[in-house]
Subunit: 226 residues, 2 copies
DNA sequence: AGTTCCATGTCGCGG
DNA sequence: CCGCGACGTGGAACT
């Protein structure tokens, strides 16, 4: 990875057109060729960037006040042009391949835990299918309750209004299927926002908050029995 | 901005839990305090990060194989812990405030072009008003068709389900106005996703894909006449 | 390759 | 501060 602090101006022309006036910024070039222009603030997102695959060409300049021009081109015709007026600091280092990130607690894992034991959502619930397909997308969990009636479950890490909208659409579609009708809905998340609760209740959709650590604990306990 | 290349392990505990095994990475600390851990690849997104506002504390260590431990804490209780085993390179530089980015988007221009000639959406359409105000937000284009009936048009660059939901809400509202009723809807975008098409059709909402370059061409032609 | 949905989304605007 | 929509969204998973 190569890092350069430089006084520069930047122009991007691709999915949109953007221009950065002259200022001091940090230029980052990674091993895969991707280039990022960072200001000294504004979270982790760069001001401008160009992801791989692309080609970076650096042209030294004789022009007054221009040390070099970096041109990054993507196969799709996007162009990022960095005019370097002055290099102020520089750093270059081999880093090798990163072993990668281990994540824990995303929606997929939560859905997995709930599918393994739907009774943590509501007593008597049995799983029919995960990712049950409909014309407008897959329902996270399709279950049947103790009375044998269908229950559609939408799982989110954080429960907000659009999650309720999503479940509402699924229910509209599912309730047209004579084999399933009537289908009720339950909205499940680690934390459900007040407005999402109100909207769910208004539409006769149940909502349940689940504790991720607790679910993981239950799973561990279940495994320990074998 | 401060940049450090170091052999390190990283743990994040907050919105999720994540762990990075020991490897060489680039640590970036911006003036606003935000911290990012970059690998030498994977586009511009860091492996781990913590945005401002937060507090960074660095504790030197006597422990074997540990130079220092950086702890970043956010007010919301998120914690990013970086165990630095060895610093390999370092760079520190004042950069000043960035003058900021000038963007020139396509979104607004598309609506402008369609307003200039609504017949590109449907034959006989005449513009009543752009950004027609309702209590739940402005409708992009309000038109009348050849029969004099009201038509609400929602314009998006990319047509997805949310756009259909938005137009549906507007139609619900507009159809309560006796001066407008009945109002039908047309969903317009450069590209409309299959699921959005299904939902639109299901709700008797029309959908039209338009070609931005073609529209621009039509406009150029019109201008050339003068 | 095309399509869909998730994301520690981030970011900006308006109430 | 919250809610909502846009984003050069990026990225993964699945068809």
């Amino acid at each position: 990875m190569r890092v350069v602090v430089a006084r520069c101006t930047v122009d991007y022309d691709g999915r949109l057109t953007a221009h950065l006036p002259e200022a001091i910024r940090l230029l980052m070039v990674k091993a895969d060729g991707c280039v990022a222009v960072h200001a000294d603030g504004g979270a982790y997102k760069p001001l401008n960037w160009m992801n791989a695959p692309n080609t970076l060409t650096v042209v030294e300049s004789d022009e007054d006040g221009v040390e070099a021009v970096w041109t990054v081109r993507s196969p799709k015709g996007e162009v990022l042009a960095i005019t370097v007026h002055e290099v102020l600091a520089e750093l270059d280092h081999e880093m090798g391949v990163d072993p990668g990130l281990q994540k824990d607690g995303v929606e997929a894992h939560l859905q997995e835990l709930l599918a393994a034991d739907p009774t943590t959502i509501a007593d008597g619930l049995r799983l029919v299918r995960r990712e049950f397909p409909t014309d407008i997308g897959p329902v996270d969990l399709l279950c049947r309750d103790a009375d044998g009636e269908a229950v559609a479950v939408e799982v989110k890490r954080r429960g907000e209004i659009d999650g309720v909208e999503q479940l509402t659409r699924y229910l509209d579609f599912l309730n047209r299927d004579p084999m399933l009708r009537p289908v009720r809905g339950i909205f499940v998340a680690q934390e459900i926002r007040p407005q999402a609760r109100v909207l769910a209740e208004d539409r006769d959709i149940g909502w349940v908050e689940v504790d991720y650590d607790e679910l993981r604990g239950i799973e561990s306990d279940a495994l320990r029995l074998f």
